[in-house]
Symmetry: C2
């Protein structure tokens, strides 16, 4: 029973910091981001409520936040959503479009094949 991933654009900035640092106090996050402290706290609270982030009190009134959803979980979820929404659920369609539109070169693809 894996949890549904629900991370908004604003919240994502916080998650990125957490993924980067593995875990962080709200001050560390505050320093890493250009965000009002209240705003940050609200977003953190929402992330906790949604189960995307956990926390523990390290000393009184100082909390350490831990991502409960990995960057990979997020990426997978986003990728799958896009495939569903824009490519009728077909990964092949997406790949084709992707390679065409993002100007992936033959060399890059061949390189990729080597590493498969």
């Amino acid at each position: 029973m894996k949890k549904k991933i629900s991370i908004t654009d604003s919240e994502l900035e916080i998650m990125k910091v957490l993924w980067e640092l593995e875990e962080a106090t709200s001050s560390e996050i505050f320093e890493a981001l250009d965000k009002n402290r209240s705003t940050l706290k609200t977003l953190l609270l929402r992330l906790v409520q949604k189960g995307m982030v956990g926390y523990e009190e390290i000393t009184s009134r100082i909390y350490r936040y831990i991502p409960l959803v990995s960057r990979n979980d997020y990426i997978s979820y986003s990728r799958k959503s896009l495939i569903e929404k824009a490519f009728d659920g077909s990964a092949q369609k997406m790949l084709l479009n992707f390679v065409k539109e993002e100007k992936i070169t033959k060399e890059e693809l061949e390189n990729l094949i080597k590493n498969l």
Copy 2:
């Protein structure tokens, strides 16, 4: 000056019908979707306001709606957004992740190369 694409999940259902039919009256859209007529009208109105959809009155009180944003525009936009949000703007990163996670086979990739 291309317009910003802004289509929500609910609105996307309507766009899909319009892309499919090329253009459609609201009744045609209504029949194609399992949606309350008022809800549908609201969504259509919002799409028009945002410039995603245009319309013309064909007879009194009957309107024909035309997509002003193509499926390709939407797909491009979505793909780019995902690359930005989840892959630090790197198409290569996304491709790698994609091929790995979506179990794209060597054959499929080779096929793709042929058609480049």
